[in-house]
C-alpha cells in the first residue's frame, strides 16, 4: 500500500531536504510538517502538495494535534530531540506507522554512556575505553591522570560541547589540565538542565584519525547501508575552531570516499549492524528508521565515535543525492518490514558536496547570530544547478531572518570533486546578508583538503594495520614502569 499522507516532524534543512525528496515521489504524497518555526522551504513544499504546516513543540502533544489535523498515513521524524521526547512512542500509540525511533531506541544517541556500554556489553568491535560520571568530583579526579581524553556531555546536546584534550606532551600538562577542568565544569553546568538521563559527563580515550559517517536504514530486520559520507565538525576552515553541528559533507565518487577503503567501509557497516541488533535485543523493540554511526579511522582501525538515531545533518543531503530510488517507497518498505525485498541503487560516478552557511556567531555566540537578514538569489543558484535547503531561518518582510543556528544548506552534485566544488562555491556567492557576516567552510570538497584526508588516512592505516598484524588490533597495553600493567581488551 502506498501511503499518500505524510507528516514530517522537524524544521531544519535536513527535513527540508527530506520533504523535497518525498515531493518528487511518483506517488505524489500530500506532505504536512510539524515545526517549531516556520521554515519557509518546508512551508512551500507543504503548500504545493496540499498539506498543512502545524506549528507546535516537537513533542507528543504537538504530534497529537498534528495527527488530528492531517490524519497522516506515515510519520517521519527528522531530528533527535522529538525522538528523545517520545514522539515516535506517541505515534505508535496512535497507530500511525513511523519512520523514526521511540525513546528506548533513541537512547543510543541520547546517552553516550548507554551507547558505549552497549558496545562493551555485546563486545562489538570499534569500541574505545570510556567512563561516565554523575559526580563532578569523581570526574575531576579521573581526568587529571587520564592522559589524552575527549570530555563530552553524557547527553546528546545538538552536536556542541565535545572537546578533545591531547596530552601527548607531558610538559604541557598543566595548561591542558586546567582546560580539562573547565570543560568538566562547563559540561556539568549544561547537563544540570536535563534530567532525562543519569550520567552527566563522559570521558573517553581520545583517538585521532579521519572521520566519516555510515548511515543505515533499518526496518527492524534488515538494513540498507547508505554510502559513507564525511562531515566536517570544526566550524572554521582548515579544521580549526570549536565543534559544531557540521559545516558540510562530501561523498563520492559514487558510494565511496576517496580516503576510505571498501574493507573499512564494510567493517564500519558491520559495526553499525551489530550495534543495531544489540540495541534491539536489549530493548526488545524494532528499530525502524536511520541509524548513523560517526566513525573515525584510528590506530585501532574503524572506530565508533558516536551514534545518531536519525539522518545526519547535513549528511542527509549527500545521502539522498546519491540515492536513485523513490524515498517514499523506501520509507514505506522500512515501516512495513520489507526492506530486504526492495531494489535500490546509488549513483555510480557522482560526487555530492553539501555546505552549511551560518551567521557569524554560530555555534557559541548565538545571540550575535540571531535576527540577521539573508537574501538568496534562487534563480542564480538554480541556473548553476545547486539545491538550497533552508534551516534555522524564517521569512519576514521578504527577507530571511536568522534564528542563530545553521541558516542555509547548499547541495551540489557533479561528476568530479573539482567541478562540484566550483559549482557549490559559486552558488554560495548568491547567499548574502545585508547586515551581517555569513560564514561557511570554503575548504570542504577542495582538492587540498581531500589530499590531506587521503594522506592522514594512509598514515593511520599503516599504523592500524601494523598493530593488527602484531596482535594489537584489539588490545592496548598500558604499563607504568614499576607499577601495574593494564590491558584494555577490545575484542
Amino acid at each position: 500500500m502506498i501511503r499518500s499522507k505524510v507528516l514530517i516532524v522537524g524544521d531544519g534543512a535536513r527535513e527540508h531536504a527530506i520533504a523535497t525528496r518525498l515531493s518528487l515521489s511518483v506517488h505524489e504524497p500530500r506532505i504536512s510538517a510539524l515545526v517549531t518555526h516556520e521554515n519557509p522551504g518546508i512551508r512551500r513544499i507543504v503548500e504545493r502538495s496540499g498539506g498543512e504546516l502545524v506549528k507546535s513543540g516537537l513533542d507528543p502533544r504537538g504530534l497529537v494535534s498534528a495527527v488530528n489535523r492531517v490524519n497522516p498515513d506515515l510519520v517521519i521524524i527528522g531530528p533527535e530531540e522529538p525522538q528523545f521526547a517520545g514522539v515516535a512512542d506517541k505515534a505508535a500509540e496512535l497507530g500511525v506507522p513511523t519512520f523514526g525511533v521511540p525513546r528506548s531506541l533513541a537512547m543510543i544517541e541520547q546517552s553516550k554512556a548507554f551507547a558505549r556500554a552497549l558496545m562493551w556489553k555485546y563486545r562489538i568491535p570499534g569500541r574505545i575505553a570510556f567512563r561516565a560520571f554523575r559526580d563532578i568530583n569523581e570526574a575531576l579526579q579521573y581526568i587529571s591522570n587520564a592522559g589524552s581524553v575527549a570530555i563530552k556531555p553524557a547527553r546528546q546536546s545538538g552536536g556542541k560541547g565535545v572537546r578533545v584534550f591531547w596530552d601527548r606532551l607531558a610538559y604541557l600538562r598543566d595548561g591542558i589540565n586546567e582546560a580539562k577542568v573547565s570543560q568538566v565544569f562547563a559540561v556539568s553546568r549544561d547537563m544540570a538542565t536535563y534530567d532525562d538521563i543519569d550520567a552527566r559527563i563522559v570521558v573517553e580515550e581520545a583517538v585521532t584519525g579521519v572521520e566519516y559517517t555510515v548511515q543505515v536504514i533499518s526496518d527492524g530486520k534488515s538494513i540498507i547501508a547508505l554510502p559513507p559520507i564525511q562531515d566536517n565538525p570544526h566550524v572554521f576552515d582548515y579544521d580549526v575552531g570549536p565543534e559544531c553541528g557540521g559545516m558540510g559533507a562530501i561523498v563520492g565518487p559514487g558510494p565511496s570516499l576517496p580516503f576510505l577503503t571498501q574493507e573499512e567501509y564494510e567493517e564500519s557497516v558491520e559495526i553499525t549492524r551489530k550495534s543495531l541488533e544489540a540495541l534491539q535485543r536489549e530493548t526488545g523493540v524494532k528499530y525502524v528508521g536511520v541509524l548513523g554511526g560517526q566513525f573515525m579511522l584510528t590506530t585501532y582501525g574503524p572506530t565508533l565515535i558516536e551514534y545518531y538515531s536519525r539522518f545526519g545533518d547535513p549528511e542527509a543531503l549527500n545521502a539522498l543525492a546519491m540515492l536513485n530510488d523513490d524515498l517514499l517507497e523506501m520509507m514505506e518498505a522500512a515501516v512495513d518490514g520489507r526492506l530486504s525485498s526492495i531494489k535500490y541503487s546509488f549513483k555510480r560516478n557522482a560526487v555530492a558536496i553539501s555546505k552549511a552557511v551560518a551567521p557569524m556567531g554560530y555555534p557559541h555566540n548565538r545571540d550575535l547570530a540571531r535576527g540577521r537578514s539573508i537574501t538568496i538569489d534562487m534563480d542564480g543558484i538554480r541556473k548553476l544547478g545547486c539545491e538550497v535547503y533552508l534551516g534555522s531561518v524564517i521569512e519576514e518582510g521578504g527577507l530571511y531572518k536568522t534564528l542563530g543556528s545553521r541558516a542555509v544548506e547548499v547541495l551540489a552534485v557533479g561528476s568530479t570533486y573539482r567541478e562540484t566544488y566550483e559549482k557549490i562555491e559559486n552558488c554560495i556567492t548568491h547567499i548574502k546578508s545585508p547586515d551581517w557576516q555569513l560564514i561557511h567552510r570554503r575548504d570542504i570538497g577542495s582538492r587540498e583538503l581531500i589530499e590531506k584526508r587521503i594522506k592522514d588516512a594512509e598514515h593511520i592505516r599503516t599504523v592500524y594495520r601494523w598493530r593488527r598484524d602484531h596482535g594489537l588490533g584489539r588490545v592496548r597495553i598500558d604499563w607504568v614502569p614499576g607499577g601495574e600493567i593494564t590491558i584494555y581488551d577490545y575484542t
Binding site: 595548561g175 577542568v181 582548515y238 555566540n365
Partner: protein, 410 residues
C-alpha cells in the same frame, strides 16, 4: 630589520591560560633571537599584560597571547590603532607602527618584506605573510580549542598542535572566537622563499610551505660531499655546532668517512645573529670544545652551514689544529659564497665584512682562515637541490649569493 621567531595563540573556549603553552615556545624559537623574549597576553577583560621574559621566567596569564624573540627591539611593541590596542611581533624589515595599523585594518599597502603576528584588544589574532613570500607563516590548531600561528612550523608541534595550513604570500589570517578567515591582500604576490631559511635559519624539524628543512639540508650535504670527494681526502668528518652537525653527518655518509662528534657546545647560542664582535667571539668559543682524542693526528673535514665573516671557522680551525692537534683541517661550507648582505631583513654583517667578498681569491681566504682547503657549494648545486625538493629556482631568493649586479625581481 631583523630576524625574529614568533607565535600567537588564541583559545575558542573558556578555561585556557595560554601562557602555560607559550612558555614552551621560548626554547623552540630561541635560535631566531636574543636571550630575552617578549610576551603580550590578553586577560579575560581584554586588557593587555606585557612582559619581557627571560628563560624560565613567568609569562602573564591570558586567554590569548603572543610571544616573540628577535634580534631587533623594534620588532615588537604595542600600538594604538583608533580605539584598539594592538600588540605585535614582526620579522623582516621594520615598518612604522602606523603601517601595521593600516595593514591590520585592511587599508594598508601590502608589505613586501615584513611578516606580522598581532593580537588586538578586540580579541582578534591577526597574521600576515609578505607578498614576496620571503618570510614564512603557518597556521595550526589544537583540537577544538586553540588556533596557533607561527613563522616556524615546529613551534606548532611543540605546543601540542597540528599544522593546518602554510599561509600563502600576501595573505592575512584573522582568527577570533567568531570567525577565521584567510584572505589575499591586493598586490602582486610572488613566492620567493628565503634560501637562508633552508640553509641555517629554520629549525631542521620545521617545514617551509610543506618542504621539510631537514631534507633540504641532507640534499645540500650530499651534493657538497660529492664535490669534495674529487679533491679532498680526510680521515674524519666533524660538524660545526649547532647547525653544521646535520651537514657533517650527512656529508660523512656520502664520503663514507666516520663522523666524529668532536666539537661540543658548551652553551647553546646562535653566533651569526650577534652584532658585537666580542659577543660573537664569545659565542663561538662556547661551541668549540674539542674532543682531542678524536682529532689528534687526523686529517679533519670541518663542515658548516654557511660562512659570513669566517670568525667561527677560523676559531674552529685553530682549535682543531693548535689545541687538538689535527694534521690537516679542510673546511666545507654547505652554502654558496655569501657575498652580499641581505637587504630584506635577515641579519648579516655589511658587505665589506663578508669574507667571500673581502677575499675573492680562494687561496687568500684559505690563508686567512688557516685551513688546508676551503670548499663552498656551487650555486648550481643549490638550484639542483631546490629542484629536487620541488622548489623552482625562480622561487628561491638568492640575492645574498649572487655576484651579478642585478637586483632581484622583488
Amino acid at each position: 630589520m631583523g630576524v625574529s621567531g614568533f607565535v600567537g595563540v588564541i583559545s575558542f573556549h573558556d578555561g585556557w591560560d595560554v601562557s602555560k603553552m607559550l612558555r614552551y615556545a621560548l626554547p623552540v624559537l630561541r635560535h631566531r633571537g636574543n636571550d630575552t623574549a617578549w610576551a603580550a597576553l590578553l586577560s579575560n577583560d581584554n586588557k593587555f599584560v606585557i612582559q619581557e621574559v627571560k628563560e624560565d621566567g613567568n609569562i602573564p596569564s591570558g586567554w590569548a597571547g603572543l610571544l616573540c624573540l628577535y634580534t631587533n627591539n623594534a620588532s615588537r611593541g604595542l600600538v594604538k590603532c583608533g580605539n584598539t590596542d594592538i600588540a605585535y611581533c614582526i620579522e623582516g624589515i621594520v615598518v612604522k607602527p602606523m603601517e601595521l595599523c593600516r595593514l591590520v585594518n585592511g587599508d594598508g599597502e601590502a608589505l613586501a618584506y615584513t611578516s606580522l603576528v598581532a593580537l588586538t584588544s578586540g580579541g582578534e589574532l591577526i597574521a600576515y605573510r609578505p607578498i614576496t613570500g620571503l618570510r614564512n607563516l603557518v597556521l595550526g590548531a589544537y583540537g577544538f580549542d586553540l588556533a596557533m600561528i607561527s613563522n616556524e612550523s615546529s613551534t606548532i608541534n611543540a605546543l601540542g598542535g597540528e599544522v593546518r595550513l602554510f599561509i600563502e604570500p600576501g595573505s592575512i589570517v584573522r582568527a577570533s572566537k567568531l570567525n577565521l578567515s584567510v584572505s589575499k591582500i591586493a598586490g602582486n604576490a610572488r613566492s620567493k622563499l628565503c634560501v637562508m631559511e633552508f640553509i641555517y635559519l629554520s629549525r631542521p624539524d620545521s617545514e617551509v610551505d610543506g618542504h621539510p628543512v631537514y631534507e633540504f639540508r641532507r640534499a645540500l650535504a650530499r651534493r657538497l660531499a660529492l664535490r669534495l670527494a674529487k679533491w679532498v681526502d680526510v680521515d674524519v668528518v666533524i660538524g660545526m655546532p649547532e647547525t653544521g652537525i646535520i651537514y657533517g653527518i650527512k656529508a660523512a655518509e656520502t664520503l663514507r668517512k666516520p663522523f666524529e662528534y668532536a666539537l661540543l657546545n658548551i652553551e647553546r647560542r646562535r653566533s651569526a645573529l650577534k652584532d658585537d664582535l666580542l659577543d660573537k667571539v664569545s659565542s663561538v668559543h662556547l661551541k668549540l670544545s674539542p674532543v682531542i682524542s678524536a682529532i689528534r693526528g687526523r686529517r679533519v673535514l670541518l663542515v658548516d652551514d654557511s660562512l659570513l665573516t669566517g670568525i667561527s671557522i677560523k676559531e674552529a680551525s685553530q682549535a682543531l689544529r693548535h689545541r687538538a692537534g689535527a694534521r690537516e683541517v679542510h673546511v666545507a661550507i654547505a652554502s654558496p659564497r655569501i657575498i652580499r648582505s641581505c637587504p630584506y631583513g635577515i641579519d648579516m654583517p655589511p658587505d665589506n665584512q663578508l669574507l667571500a667578498n673581502a677575499f675573492s681569491n680562494y687561496a687568500d681566504a684559505q690563508r686567512v682562515l688557516e685551513v688546508d682547503s676551503l670548499t663552498w657549494l656551487s650555486l648550481d648545486d643549490l638550484y639542483a637541490t631546490a629542484n629536487e625538493a620541488g622548489i623552482d629556482g625562480d622561487h628561491l631568493c638568492t640575492y645574498c649569493l649572487r655576484g651579478d649586479k642585478h637586483e632581484l625581481d622583488l
